[in-house]
């Protein structure tokens, strides 16, 4: 294709991407460099049905004047990125100086909100992604080998978890593992312990979130691999058979290499999705045990009454950077394949 033609083809997509993806990211970055103006406070007296109390309130005129002078807020540079809620450079330095063992140092780091969330987010991504890849391939191969009459039903059933809205799916599981729910009560019976609570224990909560994550994203990798399996060349498979390859050998040595471009694609999508894990944490009420980077952004924007735009912006950008780092090996591999083919 000529460069010129290519340009005209890509132009609509490119402009939409600049408008709706690139510019908002730039805007988020700019906002993350500023913090709110000083809220000029005055001591005052507030009265109501329950009597009067001295309190502070905001001097609106003085604060408004500050706002008009600098509408974006006070320039704070990258300080938000390095404060305790994010990379916490100072706190980590202090923890390093004051801890006498690696364990104590790690406890201090894990206690910081960003690293706490990062730990869960990474664990979730690194456990759920390979499980979904392997199980998805296994189910796809299984369904592909079913008799024709059963295939339709099997495909439909396997896709069901994908049709359930994440929030609803996780709420259903949440109720099932309740002490009065079918899973929770059964476990209590089996272990004969009425205090056994899936929701009260950090390891069990993590396990539940990951099981849910696998259950919910499995159909995506299954259906992609199933589509890929339809393109595996029969000749090669037959040749392998004649050469004496077992079923397992032809799967590993013929089918999987043929599906490798799809594996890269599914891995990329899963890493991006899993790194943004959010809904199950909210619907499992898992905040006491597991928080993710996306949950921190949500909390900064929503819970305090004063949305913390700089914090939310900084966490968003750090998330983007981390996703890019995680995807790097897959991207590099795809790029190599691409250039090799081009030559």
């Amino acid at each position: 294709m000529k460069h010129r033609t290519f340009f005209w083809f890509i132009l609509p997509t490119l402009s939409a991407m600049i408008l709706f993806i690139a510019l908002p990211i730039v805007s988020v970055f700019v906002q993350s460099l500023f913090v709110a103006h000083e809220q000029v406070q005055v001591v005052s007296e507030s009265c109501g049905p329950f009597g009067c109390t001295p309190t502070t309130s905001i001097d609106l005129e003085a604060t408004e004047k500050l706002r008009e002078e600098q509408p974006l807020g006070r320039f704070n540079g990258l300080n938000t990125y390095f404060n305790r809620s994010h990379l916490a450079i100072a706190d980590i330095g202090e923890a390093w100086a004051n801890s006498d063992s690696m364990g104590a140092f790690w406890n201090e780091v894990y206690n910081l909100p960003f690293y706490n969330a990062l730990t869960f987010t990474l664990t979730y991504t690194f456990i759920v992604t390979p499980l979904v890849l392997m199980l998805g391939l296994a189910i796809a191969v299984g369904v592909n080998n079913l008799p024709r009459a059963l295939k339709g039903v099997a495909i439909f059933t396997s896709l069901l978890p994908f049709l359930v809205t994440p929030l609803v799916g996780s709420l259903i599981l949440f109720w099932m593992v309740d002490g009065d729910g079918v899973i929770g009560a059964t476990l209590q019976n089996i272990f004969n312990d009425s205090s056994l609570s899936l929701k009260g224990s950090t390891p069990l909560m993590w396990t539940m979130l990951m099981v849910y994550g696998v259950w919910h994203t499995l159909p995506f990798s299954f259906i992609t691999f199933y589509a890929g399996l339809q393109t595996v060349p029969e000749d090669t498979l037959e040749a392998a058979k004649i050469d004496g390859a077992s079923k397992w050998q032809s799967l590993i040595l013929v089918t999987v290499p043929h599906l490798m471009p799809l594996v890269s694609f599914v891995t990329l999508m899963l890493i991006m999705d899993n790194f943004r894990v959010f809904e199950p944490i909210v619907s499992f009420s898992a905040e006491a045990h597991a928080r993710s980077l996306s949950w921190i952004i949500f909390n900064d924007l929503r819970e305090s009454g004063n949305p913390l735009y700089a914090s939310a912006g900084a966490t968003s950008l750090l998330t983007i950077i981390l996703v890019v780092i995680l995807m790097m090996p897959v991207l590099v591999r795809t790029w190599r394949d691409f250039t090799r083919k081009a030559h």
Partner: protein
């Protein structure tokens, strides 16, 4: 108000006397007036004609009752009367009131949400409007800041103690606990008697609820959130540590899932008979005592009383809340006047009588039933209102997210409070409250 889901209950009770005493103490009796004369008057008190009245409010029956009555009285004379009842009111109100003209002429708020609007100067002082249309509004319902009326309250709520007297009696306790020590002793007696392993329910869901539960015990211990007159945190104090330790002792008797339980879950446990002592919202009193969702055995033995205190006769561990209405700054004076007049017209005894059990009304005509006993005893015991401080939301959020580690047993009270202060300071610097 964070929590309001109320079903009607039709009961009158001997506690009336007590509540009237309380009414006298808090000065509500000032509102007593001739219902007939008022009813006659409010038909004509609708403010300028042909205006647009647009109300944003939470979504629970008592708020609907007020807005319904305002609409019934004054929608005919207005060019437009719209209402948006949503549980997300708190999330959208600042954005909706910032443009000029604002999206809504009035927001129905509570203690904490009023602060959120005032921080941005989005609600106007109501002194002149109260003078013109508020003759029938009791003076003590005016929420004032340095003499400026910023909102008019009409209903109250607070947390308090719920007890199952039959279970207490079975465990050999014949009085309703009044202090935290008594609550814990009673819970231990119930556990020791083999009746229930986890007799206590509390709203401990990580986030807003666990922060609020800390506030209750902290205020009972006489704690101060900030150094007076500043936004510097002061919760890492002996009172803070004592409050956390009390909370920890309480949750040892709470359901193992307590860090995921808020009002709906605790009410459910109570109605299922799985709890004997509860610290829950007053607004859950009516739905718990009604004949839906539970058995006669449970409802007839449920007694609502003041929130526990630290020492006998001390400050009850509760935060008093009110709901009230405000008028936006960024609307025309005529719209403001019409909106105020319409809402003020709803503050009448007939409206209260028709919706008596939907709330603990602060208005004339309220007949307190057993469902209101806990809130009135708590107010009478000298509980403190939820602080109306501009930066309290940031502190509440820091408490909500940093206390879980302590409650799970992973860190000490001092460390948890130090974490709360550090998280608060980081957020307060970003929001401009600290330099």
């Amino acid at each position: 108000m964070r929590d309001c889901k109320v079903h009607p209950v039709q009961q009158k009770h001997r506690e009336n006397d007590m509540f009237l005493k309380n009414i006298a103490i808090t000065g509500l009796v000032a509102g007593l007036m001739s219902t007939a004369a008022y009813a006659e008057g409010h038909g004509v008190m609708c403010g300028p004609e042909g205006q647009s009245i647009r109300i944003l409010a939470s979504d629970f029956p008592a708020i609907h009752a007020v807005a319904d009555d305002a609409e019934k009285n004054c929608a005919g004379r207005a060019a437009e009367f719209t209402r948006n009842h949503t549980t997300e009111a708190r999330q959208i109100m600042n954005a909706a009131l910032t443009p000029n003209p604002a999206e809504y002429t009035s927001v129905i708020v509570a203690n904490s949400t009023l602060t959120q609007l005032m921080n941005d100067g989005l609600v106007r002082p109501l002194n002149d409007l109260v003078e013109k249309y508020g003759q029938n509004l009791p003076q003590n319902l005016m929420i004032t800041l340095d003499g400026n009326i910023m909102a008019v309250a009409f209903m109250a709520n607070s947390q308090h103690l719920f007890s199952r007297t039959d279970i207490l009696a079975e465990a050999g306790i014949d009085t309703v606990p009044a202090t935290y020590d008594e609550v814990i002793a009673a819970a231990e007696a119930i556990r020791a008697a083999g009746i229930m392993e986890h007799p206590i329910v509390m709203n401990m869901k990580t986030g807003w609820n666990v922060g609020e539960s800390f506030n209750l015990v902290f205020m009972a211990h006489g704690g101060e959130f900030f150094k007076p007159g500043t936004a510097e945190p002061a919760i890492n104090s002996p009172e803070g540590i004592a409050a956390l330790n009390t909370l920890k002792r309480l949750v040892e008797y709470a359901h193992p899932d307590h860090l995921t339980q808020a009002s709906n879950e605790t009410q459910g446990l109570w109605e299922a008979g799985q709890a004997a002592l509860g610290i829950m919202w007053g607004s859950r009193g009516a739905p718990i005592l009604d004949d839906e969702g539970s058995t006669k055995e449970i409802t007839s033995n449920t007694v609502l009383s003041a929130a526990p205190s630290v020492e006998p006769g001390g400050v009850p561990g509760a935060t008093l809340w009110w709901d009230g209405f405000t008028i936006s700054s960024n609307v025309s004076d005529a719209e403001a006047e019409a909106t105020f007049a319409a809402l003020a017209s709803a503050m009448n005894a007939d409206m209260v009588a028709a919706n008596n059990d939907d709330a603990v009304w602060l208005l004339d005509g309220f007949t307190p039933g057993p469902a209101a006993a806990g809130v009135s005893a708590t107010a009478q015991g000298g509980a403190m209102p939820y602080p109306m401080i501009p930066q309290i939301g940031l502190m509440h959020n820091a408490l909500g997210s940093e206390l879980a580690d302590f409650l799970k047993g992973d860190e000490s009270a001092e460390k948890a409070l130090a974490d709360v202060e550090a998280a608060y300071i980081t957020a307060a610097k970003e929001a401009g409250f600290l330099q």
